[in-house]
C-alpha cells in the first residue's frame, strides 16, 4: 500500500493546468521567446555533403557582413563530416537577414567522400563505409534462451515473416535551441528548450570549461521534446561560444529543416521472425534476426553518440525457447536519440504482427491467443476489459471477409513500460501571509508537471491549487532528473508529497494549530510571526512504483480501390498506478495514440540514395497526423492508488501502430509488412499494383543472409530502454 491519502480532494480528479491561461494568451515564454537585452540572432551552417573531409572554412567574408558580430567554426582543422546536415560553423548578428547573408558567404573547402544512406545497401560488403576502418554492419548481439534449434520441431504450427519499420522524426514543434548569455565573469544563463535542465547545465559547464555553479538554466516553458532534448547540443555550445566572444546573449533555434536532419530519430528496423506454437496457440519458439540503423554512429564499432537500434524481443510474451539477434548498421545520416518508448514500437509491430498471423493460421481469436501467452495478469485483465468495451466478439470476423470495396477490420496489441520514480528534491516555503511556494528543479514537457506540483501541494495543505505558487524549470531550484522514461510525475509527485507533509507538520508545531489544513491554514500562518516555514524534501519509496501494461484495440476502414485507410476508433485500456490528474493523463493518452497513428500510417524520413540528402525535411512532405485524421479515442484508465504514481507518457504510444496494422490485415485479408502503411503498400499487398522497385523490403531477403554469415558475439541483447 502506498502512503497517499485514501480520500482525496484534488488528486485523481480533472483539474485544468495551472499554466493553461499563460499558454492560451501567449504570456508563456518559451526558450525561443526570451529576448534578453542586446540579444543576437544565431544560425548554423551545415554540411551539404553526406560524407566529406572538410579541409578549411573561411569565415572572413561572413564576419564582414553588416550586423554580424561573431562567426565560429564547430572545430578547427581538418575533420570528417558523416551526414548531410552535420554542423560546420555558426554566425550571430543583429538580425536573421544578416545571418542568412553571412552564411552564404562562408567558403568551405571539402573533399566529398563515398557515402551510403540506405540500410540494406550499407550491409553489402562492397558498400561505401561510413567509417573507413569498420564495416557498416556492427557485431550482432544475441539473446538465447532454451533450445531454439530443437524447439521448432516440436511446434504444431510455425509462421514466418519479414517486417520493417521506418525512421521516425521527433518533430517537436519548438525546435531544438537555446538563448544563452555568458557574462564577462563567465556567469552563464541559458534559456533552454529542454527535457533536462540539469543535463543542459552540466553540458554547458563542460563546454565552456566553467564550474557547474556558474551556469543557470531556465526552462519556464518548452515546446515538446519526446526524448530528443536532453543536452545543450552542438547548437547550444555554438551559442555559448559566440555569446562569450561578443558579451551579448545569443539565440540559436534550429529551423525545421535542421530539426529534420541532426537532432534525433527513432531508428529503423528490419526483422525476420519465425514463431512456433502448439495447436492450442501456446508459444514454443521465437527466432528473430534483425538489424536497423540509428544513424552514422550505429553499428557499435564506430565512434559517436546516439542510441542503438535494438529493441525488446519477443516483446511482451513468454516464449520458452528464444533466439533474438540484432545488429546495428551505420549509414550517413543523423544519429538516433531516445524517442518516446525507445525500441518498443518496433518490437511491438514485429511481434504483434506475427502473433496475429499465427492466430489466423490456428483459427484462434487474436485476443484469446494473447490471453494464453501474456505473462502479466494486469494486462490480461486489460484485454478482457477492452474486449467487452470494444465489443470485440461482435466486431471480429475472419480476415478479408468484410463485404464491399471498403473493408472494415479490427486489431489489438499490448505494451509494457517501466515509468518509475527516482531522486528528486523540492523546497516548500509557507509565508506568514498564507502564501505557499514550492520549488522543484523539474521541467514541464507539456505533460502538466507544474500542475502536478500544485495539485499534490494543494492536497496536502487542503488549499485550492491556484493558491500554490508552483515554480519549476530553474537549476537554482532543488535538483530533479531529466524528463525521460515516463519518470517525471512518479519522481516529482512523491517529492512534493514529502516536502509538503514536512512543511505542514512544521507549521502545525510552530503555530500550535493541531490541524492547519484548509480553513485553518491562514490562521496558522499568521501565528508564524516573521519567520516563514522553509522545508526541504525528496522523493522516497512508497509513493511511486514502476511497471505498467496497457492494451489498445483498433477499428479501421480500408478502401481496397484506393488503398486509403481510415482509422475509426482506438480503445485504450491503460494502468498507471495512482491517477494524479485525470485531465492531463487523458491528454497524454490521446497524444500517445495520435503519435502512434503517425507511426502507423504517415510518418517516414526519406533519404535519397543518389545524393545522400534528406528529401522531406519539412511538414509538407513529412506528414504528421492532423485534426481530421484523429479517430474516436476511448480511454479506460485503471486507477490503482495502492501502487503509487507511475508514468503514462510512453506506454500509450507503443501498441497503436501494431493494433492498426493488425486491423488493416484483418480488413483486407493480407498483411502489409512495413510501416508506415501507406496506400501504395495496401494496393501492393492486394496485388493491385506491382511491387515497387526500390523498397527496402524487395532486397530484404538477401540482407538477412549477410547478417547470418557474419560472426556473432555472444553477449547481452540490448533492449535500449532508456536509463
Amino acid at each position: 500500500m502506498s502512503d497517499w491519502p485514501k480520500k482525496t480532494e484534488y488528486l485523481g480528479r480533472s483539474t485544468p493546468r495551472v499554466d493553461g491561461p499563460a499558454k492560451v494568451t501567449g504570456a508563456a515564454k518559451y526558450a525561443s521567446d526570451v529576448q534578453p537585452e542586446g540579444w543576437l540572432y544565431g544560425m548554423i551552417l551545415r554540411s551539404k555533403w553526406p560524407s566529406a573531409v572538410i579541409r578549411s572554412i573561411d569565415l572572413e567574408k561572413a564576419k564582414a557582413v553588416p550586423g554580424i558580430k561573431a562567426a565560429v567554426t564547430v572545430r578547427n582543422g581538418e575533420r570528417h563530416v558523416r551526414y548531410y546536415g552535420e554542423e560546420l560553423a555558426a554566425v550571430a548578428g543583429v538580425s536573421k537577414q544578416a545571418c542568412l547573408d553571412a552564411l552564404r558567404l562562408i567558403t568551405v573547402e571539402a573533399s566529398p567522400q563515398p557515402f551510403v544512406v540506405d540500410v540494406v545497401e550499407a550491409i553489402k560488403p562492397d558498400s561505401a563505409r561510413v567509417f573507413a576502418d569498420a564495416p557498416n554492419l556492427g557485431e550482432a548481439k544475441i539473446k538465447e534462451e532454451g533450445d531454439i534449434h530443437g524447439a521448432f520441431g516440436k511446434c504444431d504450427v510455425v509462421v514466418e515473416g519479414e517486417f520493417s519499420t521506418q525512421v521516425q522524426l521527433h518533430q517537436a514543434l519548438e525546435t531544438h535551441g537555446n538563448t544563452i548569455q555568458v557574462e564577462t565573469d563567465d556567469a552563464c544563463t541559458a534559456w533552454a528548450s529542454t527535457q533536462g535542465i540539469f543535463s543542459v547545465r552540466d553540458g554547458l559547464a563542460s563546454n565552456l570549461n566553467i564550474p557547474q555553479t556558474r551556469v543557470r538554466v531556465i526552462t519556464d516553458y518548452m515546446g515538446g521534446g519526446f526524448g530528443a532534448k536532453f543536452g545543450p547540443g552542438v547548437e547550444g555550445s555554438l551559442a555559448a561560444r559566440m555569446s562569450r566572444e561578443t558579451g551579448l546573449p545569443v539565440k540559436i533555434m534550429l529551423t525545421r529543416f535542421e530539426e529534420s536532419l541532426a537532432v534525433g530519430i527513432r531508428p529503423s528496423s528490419y526483422q525476420r521472425i519465425k514463431l512456433g506454437a502448439d495447436k492450442e496457440g501456446k508459444l514454443i519458439a521465437f527466432d528473430l534476426d534483425a538489424f536497423g540503423s540509428a544513424g552514422f554512429a550505429s553499428g557499435g564499432s564506430s565512434a559517436g553518440g546516439g542510441g542503438g537500434a535494438g529493441f525488446p524481443a519477443p516483446y511482451i510474451y513468454r516464449v520458452p525457447n528464444v533466439r533474438a539477434k540484432h545488429a546495428g548498421v551505420a549509414i550517413n545520416a543523423g544519429s538516433a536519440r531516445a524517442f518516446r518508448a525507445p525500441g518498443h514500437p518496433q518490437g511491438s509491430f514485429g511481434m504483434e504482427s506475427i502473433l496475429d498471423d499465427l492466430a489466423v493460421k490456428l483459427g484462434i481469436d487474436p485476443v484469446e491467443i494473447r490471453l494464453k501467452n501474456d505473462p502479466l495478469e494486469l494486462r490480461r485483465k486489460e484485454y478482457e476489459i477492452g474486449r467487452e468495451k470494444f465489443d470485440w466478439l461482435q466486431k471480429y470476423r475472419p480476415p478479408g471477409t468484410s463485404p464491399g470495396p471498403i473493408k472494415t477490420g479490427v486489431g489489438v496489441a499490448g505494451a509494457t513500460w517501466g515509468g518509475g520514480g527516482r531522486g528528486t528534491k523540492a523546497q516548500a516555503t509557507i509565508n506568514p501571509d498564507g502564501t505557499v511556494e514550492i520549488r522543484c528543479g523539474t521541467q514541464d514537457l507539456g505533460t502538466g508537471a507544474r500542475t502536478v506540483v500544485a495539485l499534490v501541494a494543494a492536497e496536502i495543505f487542503g488549499l485550492p491549487p491556484e493558491r500554490i505558487s508552483a515554480r519549476i524549470g530553474d537549476t537554482e531550484f532543488p535538483a530533479s532528473g531529466g524528463s525521460g522514461g515516463s519518470t517525471t510525475t512518479a519522481s516529482v509527485a512523491p517529492a512534493i508529497f514529502d516536502v509538503c507533509t514536512k512543511a505542514l507538520n512544521e507549521l502545525q508545531v510552530l503555530s500550535g494549530v493541531a490541524d492547519a489544513r484548509g480553513a485553518n491554514f491562514d490562521a496558522a500562518c499568521r501565528k508564524l510571526g516573521m519567520e516563514p516555514v522553509v522545508m526541504q524534501g525528496e522523493w522516497r519509496e512508497g509513493l511511486s512504483s514502476s511497471g505498467v501494461g496497457g492494451v489498445q484495440f483498433a477499428e479501421v476502414d480500408v478502401d481496397t480501390e484506393t488503398g486509403f485507410i481510415k482509422v475509426k476508433k482506438i480503445l485504450v485500456v491503460q494502468d498507471c498506478g495512482l491517477v494524479v490528474n485525470k485531465l492531463t493523463a487523458e491528454s497524454q493518452v490521446n497524444g500517445g495514440v495520435i503519435m502512434g497513428l503517425g507511426y502507423a500510417l504517415y510518418e517516414q524520413r526519406v533519404m535519397d540514395p543518389q545524393t545522400g540528402v534528406c528529401l522531406n525535411p519539412n511538414f509538407e512532405t513529412y506528414k504528421l497526423p492532423g485534426a481530421a485524421d484523429v479517430p474516436e479515442i476511448e480511454i479506460v484508465l485503471l486507477d490503482m492508488p495502492e501502487r503509487g504514481v507511475i508514468g503514462i507518457g510512453e506506454p500509450v504510444t507503443i501498441p497503436t501502430a501494431a493494433a492498426v496494422a493488425n486491423a488493416v490485415a484483418n480488413a483486407i485479408g493480407v498483411r502489409v509488412h512495413s510501416l508506415p502503411i501507406t496506400p501504395d503498400k495496401v494496393l501492393e499487398a492486394l496485388g493491385q499494383i506491382p511491387a515497387g522497385p526500390e523498397t527496402a523490403s524487395s532486397d530484404l531477403d538477401k540482407s538477412f543472409v549477410v547478417v547470418e554469415d557474419l560472426p556473432a558475439v555472444a553477449g547481452e541483447f540490448t533492449d535500449d530502454v532508456p536509463s
Partner: protein, 215 residues
C-alpha cells in the same frame, strides 16, 4: 501594399502613364521617350530595399513604426523586432499554423506575409485577443478542456478557431475540423481542441474517458 491596392485606386498614376504609352508610342516617338523616362522614374520610386525602410504596423490596436528590410516577414517582425512572441515559428513555410495571426479578422500565416505588405491592416496576435486580461470563452474552454499540452501550437489554434466562432458562432464538428486543418499539434491535443471549440460555442460534448478502480 494596401494603399496602392488596385481596388483602392481604380486608376493609378502608373497605370495612367502606361496606358498613355501604349497609344502614344505608335504616333509620336519623342513623346514616347518622355513617357518611358517617366515610367522608369516611377519604377525606381517603387523599388524598396534591400536596406531597411520604414514600416508602420497596427498590431492589437497599437501602431509600431519599425525600420525593416523589405524581406522581413510579419512573423519575423513580431518575434524578432517586437516583443510579440505569441505567434510561434515552427515551419516558416505555411504548413503548421503556429504563427497564425488575424489580419482584418482573417486568420493568416504570419510567416508567409511580408511585414511591408501587412501595413494598413489591423493585425491581431494572441496577445491582443483578450486585452483586458479576461480570457475569451474559447480561451477559457481551451484551459478547462485541456485543449493543449506543451502549448506551442496553442496560439495558432486559438486564433484560427476565434475567427471561425466570430463568423460561425454555432459550428458543427466538421466546421471546427476544417477551421483548424491548417494547424498542426505534435502533442496530439486535437480531440480536446475540437471539444474546446464546441464547448465555447455552447455545444455539449462528453469525455470518452472513464477511470476504473482496479482491485
Amino acid at each position: 501594399m494596401a494603399q496602392e491596392h488596385p481596388l483602392n485606386h481604380p486608376v493609378s498614376r502608373r497605370g495612367f502613364f502606361k496606358g498613355l504609352g501604349a497609344t502614344a508610342v505608335a504616333t509620336v516617338a519623342s513623346r514616347a521617350e518622355v513617357v518611358a523616362g517617366e515610367l522608369t522614374k516611377l519604377d525606381a520610386e517603387r523599388v524598396q530595399g534591400p536596406g531597411a525602410i520604414p514600416v508602420d504596423l497596427v498590431i492589437n490596436g497599437k501602431r509600431s513604426s519599425l525600420q525593416l528590410e523589405p524581406r522581413v516577414t510579419l512573423l519575423d517582425a513580431l518575434r524578432n523586432h517586437l516583443p510579440l512572441t505569441g505567434a510561434k515559428e515552427v515551419c516558416d513555410r505555411a504548413t503548421c499554423g503556429a504563427c497564425t495571426v488575424l489580419m482584418d479578422g482573417v486568420p493568416v500565416y504570419a510567416c508567409m506575409i511580408l511585414a511591408v505588405d501587412a501595413q494598413g491592416a489591423k493585425i491581431t496576435t494572441i496577445e491582443g485577443l483578450s486585452p483586458d486580461g479576461r480570457l475569451t470563452k474559447l480561451q477559457e474552454a481551451f484551459v478547462t478542456c485541456d485543449g493543449l499540452q506543451c502549448g506551442f501550437c496553442t496560439p495558432g489554434f486559438v486564433l484560427s478557431l476565434s475567427a471561425l466562432l466570430e463568423k460561425t458562432p454555432q459550428p458543427t464538428e466538421a466546421q471546427v475540423l476544417k477551421a483548424c486543418s491548417g494547424n498542426l499539434c505534435r502533442c496530439g491535443s486535437y480531440p480536446r481542441v475540437v471539444q474546446a471549440a464546441l464547448q465555447a460555442a455552447g455545444v455539449k460534448t462528453a469525455s470518452r474517458c472513464e477511470v476504473i478502480r482496479h482491485v
